[in-house]
Amino acid sequence: MAFTTMVGARIRRREDPRLITGRATYVDDVRQVNTCYAAFVRSPHGHAKITSIDVAAAKADPHVAGVWTGDDIHHAHNLKSSLPVAHKMGALGLKTPPHYILALDEVRFVGEAVAVVIADSPYTARDAAEKIVVEYEQLGVVVDPLKAEAGPPFVHEELGTNVAFSMPFKAGDPDAAFAAADVTIKQRIVNQRVAPVPIEPRSMVANWDTGGQQLTIYSATQIPHLLRTQLAVVLQLPENKIRVIAPEVGGGFGAKLNVYAEEALISWVAMQLGRPVKYIETRSECFQAMIHGRDQIDDIEVAATKDGTITALRLKITANLGAYHQLLTPVIPTLTLLMAHGCYRFENIEAEVVGVFTNTMSTDAYRGAGRPEATFFIERAIDMVALKLGLDPVAVRRKNFIANASFPHTTATGLTYDSGDYETTMDKALKAVDYDGLRKQQADLRKQGRFLGIGVSTYVEVCGMGPSAAMPAAGWDSATIRVEPTGSITVLTGVSPHGQGEETTFAQIVADELGVPIDNVTVVHGDTDRVQYGVGTFGSRGTAVGGSALKLAIETIQAKAVKIAAHQWEANPDDVEYKDGKIGVKGDPSKSMTTPEAGFLAFMGDNLPPGLEPGLDATRRFEPPNFVFPFGTHVCVVEVDAQTGEIKIVKYLAVDDCGRLLNPMIVEGQVHGGIAQGLSQALFEEVIYDDNGQLLTGTLMDYAIPHAEQVPHYELDHTVTGTTVNPLGIKGIGEAGTIGSTPAVANAVIDALAPFGVVHIDMPLRPEKLWLAMQPKNGSTK
C-alpha cells in the first residue's frame, strides 16, 4: 500500500462512543414483545444418578409456560440431543461420549443443566425452578486428572476409562541427547484451571417466527455462522431457516467460541412455544457452566550442554478435559505440543499428550488456548537450566534462539515459523529496562534483605488461525465490499469482532485503498442474514485472515473500477491504475476518478465496457497458506516482601512484534488486556473444585480477577518483522500479551526467591506460598 494516511495511524476506535455512553445493544438489551424467560435447575453434585425429577409443582405455577427435563428433550423427535465437538483426531481413537443438551439419567459436574423452566419473568422462572425436586444417588467423583487417568471412578462408566485420547510424539533422538547431556532438569509444572469471566455472561434470546418458519437467535457468540451450522444440525432445521445475530458482545476470550447446550435448548424451546425466550445466565452459572481454560499438568525434562544449549525435551501433557467435550476441548492440548519449542531450535522431542475426563466443567479455548501452557513451561525451563548452570537466563535464551537466517523455520513438531527476529526484540527490551543495572540493583538489595526479582519471557505463538487443512473446521474467512450508489462503502466481514476494533481497522484499510473518508465506510458483522458465511473471531485471526479477505475484495473492486474508468477515458485499461486511492492514467495527471464516481457509473450501468456487469461490489475469501507467528519479549520486575510474601510489581515492559501495525492504539489495547489476563493467571486466578467436585471458587468474592489497582503500568514498545503469509504483512496480537506475560511474571517472582533455594513454585503465586518458601528451613540456613 503506497498511500497510508489511515493505516498505521492511532485512529480512535469508532466503536467506543456507543460503548462508553451506554448506547450499545447487547443481547439483554434486545426487547421483544411477549418474551418469556428461562431458568435452569443445575446439578449440585459432581457425579450422581438422577433417580427422579418432580416437576408437577413448577408446571402448576400460573407464571410458567413450560418445563422440560433431559427425558423430554431426548425423546423429542425433532431434536438431536447430543452436542458437537470439532476435531480431526479420529485416528487417535478419540472418545466422544454423548453430551446431552439436558442431563439424561446422570450428572457429571456441578452446574450441569438438569431441567429448564420457562416463565413470564426472570424472577418467576427462578421461583418456579426452586419448586422442582430432583433426587440423586451420588456416584464416585474424580477431579484430579492424574487420579482420573489411573481411574476408576470413571466419569463415563461405559468407556471403562477416563482417558479420552493419548497422543505420542517423537522427533530426533531424545534418548541420545539425554545420554550426552551435561545437565538435565526435571519438573512438574501445573498450569492451573482458570475461568474466562467476561463481563457479559452467556446471553441469548431466541424467537420462532411461526408464520415464516424462521428461527432467530441473538447470542453473545464469537462464531455466529458456525453456531448457525451447528444449530441446524442439532435442531434438524434447514440452515437457511436460522438467523444468528451476535450483537454487541461483552467479552469472549475464547469462551464464546463454542456451541452451548443452552443455545440449542433455548432455540428449541422458542420453537415449541412460538414466543421469544430469553436466557441471561447469572455470574454463578457462568462460573459453573461456561468453559474453563488451561488445566494441564506438564511434566518436563530438559537436556542441555554446559554452555546452556538445550538439546532435548521430554514432555508429558496431562490435560484435564472436564466431563464432556465442548466444541474444541480435545484440540487445545495438542496446540501445546505444537508450540513446545518456543523460540528455540532444539530438534529432539519425545512427548505424550493425554486428555482425561473428570467431574468438572469442560476446558476449552481461553485466550491463548494451548499456547500459553507451552510458553509457560519452556520459559520456566530456560530459567531452570540457567539456574542449574549458573548462567544468566538471558544468555541461555540468546544461545538457543532460532537464528534469523533460518526463517522460514520448520520445527521438530512440524510447524513452519514464518518469520522472526527474536534477538532484536529481546535486546530492545533489555536496553529499555537497563537489564544489567537491574541485576546490580538486585544484588545490592539482597544484601539489605530485600528481594527483587527479574523475569524475562521470550515468546513466540501460533495464530492467524489458520490454514483450513490444519483447523478442526474451516480456517478461511470472507469479506464483501459494496460501493453504494451514493458513494458510501459497506464492508461485510465474516469475522465477528467483540472488542478487537475491526470496525476501525478495516475502515482504515478501505479508506486508504479506495480513497474515501473513513466516515464513509461502515463495517457490518455478526448477523448471518446480512453477512456472507464467515468463520469468526478467535485464535488472533480476525485481522490476519478476515482483513486479508478484505484486502482481496479491495483488489477486485479496484480492478473493476479501473475498467470502468478506462472505458470513460477511452484509455487502455493496462494504462489505468489506482494511485494514492484514486484512479488515474499512468503519466497523465489530468485524468482522475474516485471509487465512488466509478461506483456511481457502475450503478447507472449505461456507460460500461461491453460485457462488464453493472454494480461495484465484491466478495472474496482468504485461505491462509500458513499460520503467523508473532513474538516478543516481556520483562517483569517484582519485589517480594519477606515478611508476608506480598508481591509488588515494580516494572512491566513488553516489546512485541506482530508485523505491521494497522492501528498502534488498538494493538496496545490488545496487549494491555492480554497482559492483565496473563499476569492475573500468574498471581491471582485459580478455579478450585474440592474432592467431591464442589466448586469452591464460584463467585467473584472467591475467584480473583484483578481490579485496576492490582495491575501495573505497562511500558510497551515493538519491532516490525513482516510476513508473507498474508497480503497485509500482519500477525495477530489478541493473545500475545496473555502468552508472553504469565511466564515473565512467574520467572520474576521465582527469581526473587532464588536466595532461598527456590527453583519452581506453581501458580497462582499466592503470598502464602512465597512466604512459606522464604521461611528458614530446619537444618539449613536458606
Binding site: 491471582f684 468474592m701 480473583a704 499466592r766 503470598p767
Partner: protein
Amino acid sequence: MIPATFDYVRATSVDDAIRLLGEHGDDAKLLAGGHSLIPMMKLRLAAPAVLIDIGGIPQLDAIDASGGRITIGALAKHAALAASDALKKSAPALWDAANDLGDPQVRNRGTIGGASAHGDPSADYPAVLQALDATFTLTGKNGTRDLKASDFFQGMFETALGAKEVLTKIAFDAAPKSAYVKFHHPASHYAVVGVAAVLTMSGGTIESARIAVTGIGDSAFRASGVESALKGVKPGDADALKAACAGVARSVTARADTFASAAYRTAMADVFAARAVAKAASR
C-alpha cells in the same frame, strides 16, 4: 443473582422503623445501603419477606468529628467518612478503613451502621470501632441503650442488635494517633487480616495501646496481651515492636479459605499489628 419475592417499605423516622419492625416481626430486615444484604438476597442466601428501608431517615447520616468526642450517624456512608478531613485528623484509623473498603460504588452506597450490624467476620469496622472503644447506640420501643463495641460484635454475622432495634449512632473519643492496615483478599477485598491500633504516646514511647484484629476468627477481637506488651515500647525500634506484637492472634481459632490458611493468617496478624502500630505512631 435473582432474589426471592419481598415487600419493601420506607421508614420515615427511627420511631417509624421501630413500629414497622414490630408490625412485620422476624420476617423483616432493615435496609440501609444494601451492600451486604442485597448480595446475599441475590444469591438467595437471605430471603426476608419485608425490607424496611431506613436509608431516607433524615439526620441519621450526620458526622461530627470536630471535637474531642466524635459522633457518627449510623447512615453515614463510607464515602462521606473517607472524605472527612476532620475525621482524618481526629480518628485516622476509621478514615483509613473507610478509604480502604470496597470500591467506589460500595463506598458511595454502603453505611457504617449497616456494615457494622451485618457482623461480617472479615469486615474492617469491627476492628476499628473496637480499637476506638466506640459506643453503639441502639434504639428500640422502650428507648435507647448504649453498648461498647466489644459487646456489640458477638460472633460470625452476630451482633447484640435486637430484632426490633435500630442502630442509630456510633460515638468514640478522638484518637489522633490511630491507624488501620489491611491485607486485602485479592478477590473480595475483605480483610484477610486487618489490624487497628489506637495509641497514646509520650515522646517516642507508647503509653497505652488498644489493638483490635479482624479477618482471623469468627469475630473481630481486642488483643489485650499485645496491648500490655506495647506499653513502653518505642515504635521506632523494629525488633521491640515485632516482639511486642508477636502472637497477636494466638488466642483465636483462625479461619482458612482458598487464599490463606489458618497458620498463615495467624502469622500475618503479627506483621500487620506491627505495621498498624508503626503507622499510628507516625501520625
